[in-house]
Symmetry: C2
Subunit: 211 residues, 2 copies
DNA sequence: TGTACATCAGTGAACGCGCGTTCACTGATGTAC
DNA sequence: TGTACATCAGTGAACGCGCGTTCACTGATGTAC
């Protein structure tokens, strides 16, 4: 319990939870104006601290952005894992739930989603960010491996390829049709239905159809 | 031949082709720093005109951006149509070529691609932009319809849904793995191979496999 | 063909503004004894 | 328990800069007669 103040009482000279508050304020601004749509200065004003305060916690704007993306990927991994639910009640249902979790995250956390995929962070922004990204992908891959295991040995696609396909399908639909914040092309199907149909047809093509 | 000067001689008081030059300069900057990474002022400096000059041609930065996106979608339609090549030599090959054209465009014209899909333009930015977007999608849909026609009448999926799926697959792969400009996740397959495999499995699932 | 005039397209100076970053500072907290 | 001191986290004023936008202007072009 590092003598930090709790509950955001925010009365004293010390904020107590500034880096957390900076992240939240940045997320608000990203949700409103996109990943490029906030300034370091604007964030300090939203939090109510001096413009020099963030430098105690982040080297610069990009470091804050990378931290937000890292947190995003960590939340994302959790959501995908919850969707997977250890493959229960059966692998196929759990697999669909992973796809739905992908779309739900894009819709419910547009600011994180933008920070993760549209912030143009340098690939080597931080070790932690790379790790968090890999972890999220590992969930997709794990789900694919469980489905692949249901196929006869001679007909199994590479799990890596399948995971990349699933990622691309979910991401394509999320990016094009599944964002609530910015105005996207509207189509006469929900992103959820669209993705489920897409994945079912794809799985059918792999021999994982209802047979 | 509206008395415009040609060849960018750019000696006189009048530029002669300023709006074109502004677009090109903006594309250069977008390629380097992303869709949010250029300012009106920076563009005028690159072109070598006064900071007030663009206002004769564009109301503001967003209007320039929308014009760039419109041009991008028009080029995009042409490239996709070339890929389709009127369904020659056969519908399946032509269909794959459309997918490859999608990826080629994302790779070769990252600035246009970013302006089209990542600039967060308001959906009603301009009538011309909406029209150009619709035209590009119509090419995908047309290709899907040709393939669907090969299926027996009872087994035909809705062309709109199929076109949306194809768009999502191509876009997902392009956005995640197919951009040369920004550092993206690298994987041990080319985006082209990845997309071709994805589409083949999908088509197989629709009953359009090699049989 | 020549001339007067209207229109067009770019000028350049100016403005107020918000930005990122620095600096010496100071209040609050933690710790050694 | 009390006191002295070190460390930490936020201050607030200041800086130079590039931005978008405006304005009256002027050079170049097109056209009517």
């Amino acid at each position: 319990m590092s003598g930090l103040k709790r509950g955001g009482s925010r009365r004293g000279y010390h904020h107590g939870n500034l880096s957390e508050a900076l992240v939240q304020a940045a997320l608000d601004l990203i949700a409103k104006h996109g990943p490029a749509g906030f300034s370091f200065a604007e964030v300090t004003r939203a939090v109510g601290v001096s413009p020099a305060a963030p430098y105690r916690h982040y080297k610069d704007r990009d470091a804050l952005m990378a931290d937000i993306a890292r947190r995003g990927f960590e939340m994302f991994s959790v959501r995908l894992l919850q969707g997977w639910n250890e493959g229960q009640p059966d692998a196929l249902s759990a697999f669909k739930a992973v796809g739905q979790a992908y779309l739900a995250f894009a819709r419910e956390e547009p600011a994180y989603f933008a920070a993760m995929f549209e912030a143009r962070l340098p690939k080597d922004a931080s070790r932690e960010l790379s790790q968090a990204t890999d972890n999220a992908f590992a969930v997709l891959r794990q789900a694919c491996e469980a489905l692949i295991a249901q196929l006869p040995a001679g007909k199994r696609p590479p799990a890596l390829m399948m995971a990349l396909h699933v990622w691309a399908m979910a991401h394509g639909i999320a990016a094009l049709f599944g964002r609530s914040d910015s105005a996207r092309r509207n189509v006469p199907m929900s992103p959820e239905d669209l993705l489920e149909a897409n994945m079912l047809i794809y799985l059918d093509g792999l021999g994982l159809g209802p047979n």
